[in-house]
Assembly symmetry: C2
Homo-oligomer: 255 residues x 2
């Protein structure tokens, strides 16, 4: 039975898509059977996986609407990991789901038949706390929260933690925060170090601030443009190590 | 009668809040009467203006719900520009507005009585294309689209342009794209230059790619943490010039 992990944070541009892709690639390179789910209408994960959202015959929108058919919608990413892809149609799902029955559990129903086929299912969430993100958290065992090491991202953390606590209280008592993943840490500036120490001061020990700090590097944007994960594009990059170590610790049950 | 400009892009972390704040400060320093509107439940603009979202007695959520009372909700930011502030309650507005009458024009009704008191009203939008952003675009004369000079941000531009065209066609024929504002341009990497030239190739001449390129600098995150606009915090920074020149060109009607 697979573990389902959401990568979520309503603050935009903190590295959710980058984390989903690179963690999935690292887990897969260690022998795990991994499925990525793109739950963002911008389809960043689908694009970064080397696919054209507009060229997809079926996407996760169709699956959510019909409540079935995930198996036939899964495609292979450019680096060999399975993906349930998205396109802009998914933006319709938010308004269409509002009046549906069991609207928060559509994704859970859709993923249920897949759970024996994979060890890990990673869901890339959009930068908002609407119905799609709610669907992701409602069906997840854990949530990984990337936090860019900058002031506004730090200030947004309280909001996502409150939201996760609400979902755990009202819909999914299994849901655990796996940790806050520091991203885009710029070693050349004091600002990042100050932000990271504030993050620890404010949220530890209730929530773990992961020590797999992902340093800022332009290699991430370059690798995304090529549809190649960082662990292949820039093997020796500290950021690649961070995602490999994160994958290893996840497999070892340390998170 | 004031001009209303939305700063919008569903791609997260591209500099929407930073642009709203610094453009507002620059316009105000040139004698314009400016109102900022925070339309994002994360309340980034409210925080960066030196205010505590949780300590607000009234916020834009109350105003949207009641359909009035904006004048009594406006507060002064730490740098002297008026702000219609937000807090996390605004996340409720999205679901509550769905079934309201004239749900797309709530913001227009609320801002109408203020239009004679200001020259420019700048609306900071959240990273999604839901009802709040729709309200902003439905009442705007122009939309400014910040685009980080990185691959995934480039790929998201088509999506926001299609959405703006839809709003112009169905709700607000005045709505114009003022331009794509290149942000976070890292001069040390080829990736930014490649992305910027692709942006121009793909979207000009239909849409203007503004030449006020905002270079990447940690000074932006530092200034936001202090609640001080970049034009005061780091006057000589090229990024401060970019926002000053953008303000000057807006006043001169060049955009
Ligand atoms: N450690 C890093 N160092 C430098 N750049 C990074 C890093 N991680 C991600 N990036 C880049 O930063 C940008 C934002 O990352 P990404 O798109 O993964 O964030 P996101 O949280 O998924 O954004 P959104 O909120 O729009 O979904 C991308 O251009 C990405 O390539
Ligand atoms: N030119 C720049 N150079 C470097 N950092 C910048 C620049 N502009 C903004 N930033 C920083 O990048 C981060 C993202 O910017 P900002 O929060 O303004 O984006 P946004 O589009 O409003 O994000 P969201 O999608 O979450 O609303 C912030 O930490 C901000 O301080
Ligand atoms: Mg993303
Ligand atoms: Mg913002």
């Amino acid at each position: 039975m697979s573990r389902i992990i959401s990568i979520a944070n309503h603050k935009g541009g903190v590295g959710k898509t980058t984390t989903t892709l690179n963690l999935a690639a690292a887990l897969s390179s260690m022998g795990r059977r991994v499925l990525m789910v793109d739950l963002d209408p911008q389809a960043g994960l689908t694009i970064a996986s080397g696919l054209e959202p507009d060229a997809l015959e079926r996407s996760i929108y169709d699956v959510l609407r019909r409540g079935e058919g995930a198996v036939d919608t899964i495609v292979r990413s450019s680096f060999g990991v399975d993906l349930l892809p998205a396109n802009i149609d998914l933006a319709l799902a938010e308004l269409e789901l509002v009046s549906a029955i069991a609207r928060e559990r559509r994704l859970a129903a859709v993923l249920a038949p897949l759970r024996d086929a994979y060890d890990d299912i990673l869901i890339d969430c959009q930068p908002s706390l609407g119905l799609l993100t709610l669907n992701a958290l409602a069906t997840s065992d854990g949530v990984l929260i990337p936090v860019a090491c900058e002031y506004l991202a730090l200030r947004a953390v309280r909001g996502i933690l409150l939201y996760v606590a609400k979902v755990r209280g009202q819909m999914n008592s299994q849901l655990r925060v796996l940790g806050l993943l520091p991203t885009m840490f710029d070693r050349r500036t004091r600002h990042a170090a100050t932000t990271l120490s504030q993050l620890k001061k404010e949220f530890e020990p209730k929530v773990k601030v992961l020590n797999h700090v992902v340093y800022r590097s332009i290699r991430f944007a370059e690798s995304t443009a090529k549809g190649v994960p960082i662990i292949e594009y820039a093997k020796a990059l500290p950021g690649a190590d961070a995602y490999r170590n994160l994958a290893r610790d996840l497999i070892a049950g340390k998170l």
